[in-house]
């Protein structure tokens, strides 16, 4: 058993993206309950009691996050992070495409709890179909009186606009997202001040992931305490996991937090193709340190994965089977982070670049095993020294691959050197790069 189905209950119902079908399924009832019978602080209490943790990557308790919003009389904002660019993640897409009203209902509830009167959905520009669906849903919700002024006669008003991005992973980082939403380059900001105090247009701002917000109506419906009974003590509730890579049944699955990872990878997703075994897997998107085939029995929840020195992240499981060389995975990953580094701070901008160069040397037979140590030290220099965690997001998985598959890296170096006509003579054309321009992501 994989536990109760909450978010995906009716997900494949035809027409769920229209307000009629959504309401027939009990939609917007939680919002009615909130606006007609509850105070904002009571909503926050329910969220705290539910133990809901952010589904976007960091896993921060969502009730606490809203409670940080200062109770002052200024314009406050709620921003829904629908940038979803973490490689391997495609759960928000499913929710937005099939059940946009669940997200809108969550946004209104979240905004009410935070006292926000203006809200935005920042969706990645590549999601054209999904953005059109949400635009249509916003119009429907406004006409039905769930958005706009004086919603359901409660005196609470909220505007909601969809903002389409234009393709940059870093705009998923919350402060990069805010800058991008303000119409600038999406460079992350130095924290503190945190967005709860000075976010969008310098106003107090809550930023939540799509899945986090979409869960809020369900928490109100079933009650926070009831929701907290699902999952484990520290990781309450269900989670959407996106399973992809070398598996037979890739897709989105809703699981109860705390079930075994093997059950997800083999039970739900069918495991790797016939005759192959799991070599390594990313438990929470490409930014999470890899685990190996030996770790399949660990429980899939925030704390257990953290103890295993990895993380649940966005809940995207990428499975790599034993036919794939680890070096090619590492190189692919490093190139992605190099491309997406915004260039604002040095350890990330230069570190991602050098990591790519070093992995290319490994692949071309120009490296020696000592390069692996240098590469590992570069990763150490990156971790904790960057403005945002994109740098760490490359350093952690690459570091874990070098540590866990060092033998294979060394064998790869040997084999590549044997093939390489210049082996031992160093690179034929030393690359004299001294300055790298900020690579706009």
């Amino acid at each position: 058993m994989t536990g109760p189905t909450i978010l995906f209950e009716d997900i494949d119902e035809r027409g769920l993206n229209t307000i009629d079908v959504y309401r027939r399924r009990g939609g917007y009832e939680s919002l009615r309950k909130v606006l007609t019978t509850m105070q904002p602080s009571e909503v926050v209490d329910e969220l705290m009691a539910s133990g809901l943790r952010g589904r976007g990557g960091a896993g921060f308790p969502s009730g606490r996050k809203i409670s940080f919003i200062p109770k002052v009389d200024v314009d406050k904002y709620l921003v829904c992070n629908a940038d979803e660019s973490e490689p391997g993640t495609f759960k928000d897409r499913e929710l937005m495409q099939k059940s946009p009203h669940m997200l809108i209902e969550g946004i209104v509830i979240g905004a009410f709890a935070a006292g926000a009167t203006k809200s935005f959905i920042y969706i990645r520009g590549e999601y054209v179909e999904q953005a059109d669906i949400i635009d249509a849903a916003i119009v429907e919700a406004r006409e039905a009186g769930f958005l706009g002024e004086n919603i359901l006669g409660s005196g609470f008003g909220l505007t909601l606009h969809l903002h389409r991005g234009a393709g940059a992973y870093i705009c998923g980082e919350e402060t990069g997202l805010l800058d991008s939403l303000e119409g600038k380059r999406g460079n992350p900001r130095l924290k503190p001040p945190f967005p709860a105090n000075q976010g969008l247009y310098q106003g107090p701002t809550v930023i939540n992931n799509v899945e986090t917000l979409a869960t809020m109506p369900h928490i109100i419906k079933m009650g926070g305490a009831e929701y907290a009974k699902i999952g484990t003590e520290t990781s309450a509730g269900t989670k959407l996991v996106s399973v992809s890579g070398n598996v037979q049944r890739p897709g989105n699955y809703e699981i109860e937090l705390g079930i075994s990872s093997r059950e997800i990878i083999y039970g739900l997703a069918g495991g790797p193709p016939e005759g192959r075994a799991v070599k390594m897997w990313f438990p929470g998107g490409s930014s999470s340190p890899v685990l190996t085939g030996d770790d399949l029995d660990i429980a899939y929840d925030f704390n257990t994965l953290a103890q295993a020195k990895s993380m649940l992240g966005s809940g995207a499981i990428i499975v790599v089977d034993d036919s794939v060389p680890v070096v090619s995975v590492a190189l692919k990953l490093a190139k992605f982070y190099k491309h997406e580094s915004c260039g604002k701070c040095t350890p990330c901008r230069e570190g991602t670049r050098w990591t790519v160069s070093m992995l290319e040397r490994v692949d071309q037979g120009l490296a020696t095993p000592m390069d692996l140590d240098i590469m590992a030290s570069v990763q150490e220099q990156i971790i904790g020294n960057c403005l945002c965690v994109l740098g760490d997001a490359m350093a952690m998985p690459i570091g874990s691959m070098v540590a866990k598959f060092r033998d294979e890296f060394e064998a790869h170096i040997e084999a590549a050197r044997a093939r390489n006509p210049w082996a031992g003579e160093g690179p034929p054309d030393p690359d004299p790069v001294l300055v790298q321009g900020a690579s706009g992501a």
Binding site: R93, E126, G183, A441
Partner: protein
């Protein structure tokens, strides 16, 4: 963009970029000869990936509406976007995207027109346009095909798929085929976004037919579009010949 700048001899003859740069080349090296530089009417450079900024030029001022004609529909769209936000500058990305739809890329006209409506300097909008992957700072083909080559897709054969796409469209300037980072549809890997429509899994031998459909303006691989897929499809077992 900070790069080492070298004074170029004024008589330096520039050969067209295409003759020197292999496709997909990106470098910040200055041992690579300068490519031909596209310039705006008043002499400033058109923005590009790693062109150094010409600091000797005066910055362009906010375009004068009297001398910058803007199509009425574009103006209306940009103004509608500006009205949505507490700060009108938030409309920069939607405005550039709208201008790009009209002009095909963020050309000097596109930037100047958006800047004229938004009452911002072209430089501001150029700085925004050069940050985002989907805003094109060089002329490109009309048909945008983004082939995802990130990790999950490449585990399922995306690199071969991109190669095949590039070969099939090599002599057709109407195509803008790009390798792209994860498009958020790894469940249909290997996949591509064809003018915004997600299709996959695409077998390499389906590429010629798909390219033909795009040329004809037909729906791309109608049976394999993402919106047809169930979220959790127990029957979605991949046939062994698909993907890898």
């Amino acid at each position: 963009m900070i790069g080492r700048r070298k004074k170029r001899a004024p008589e330096a003859v520039l050969t067209p970029a295409a003759e020197r740069r292999p496709a997909g080349f990106e470098s910040h090296r200055d041992d690579v000869p300068q490519r031909e530089v596209a310039r705006f009417g008043h002499g400033s450079r058109v923005p590009g990936w790693d062109d150094a900024v010409d600091l000797e030029k005066d910055p362009a001022a906010i375009p004068d509406p009297a001398t910058t004609p803007v199509p009425a529909a574009l103006r209306a769209e940009i103004e509608a976007h500006m009205a949505k936000y507490p700060d009108f500058r938030s409309a920069a990305i939607p405005a550039l995207a709208a201008a790009q739809r009209v002009h095909g890329w963020c050309s000097p006209e596109a930037i100047w027109q958006a800047a004229c409506v938004m009452r911002l300097t072209p430089g501001y909008l150029i700085s925004v346009a050069s940050f985002y992957d989907m805003l094109e700072t060089r002329p490109v083909g009309r048909q945008a095909v983004y082939v995802c080559t990130n990790i999950s897709c490449s585990l399922c054969g995306a690199d071969e798929l991109l190669d095949r796409f590039k070969r099939e469209t090599a002599d057709d300037p109407d195509f803008n085929v790009r390798g792209f980072e994860c498009l958020g549809a790894c469940d249909i890997a290997p996949m591509a976004s064809v003018n915004g429509i997600y299709v996959g899994p695409i077998r390499t031998d389906e590429v010629p037919a798909l390219v033909e459909q795009i040329r004809e303006g037909l729906p791309p691989l109608p049976g394999k579009q993402l919106h047809l897929r169930k979220s959790t499809d127990p029957g979605a077992v991949r046939a062994p010949e698909e993907g890898r």
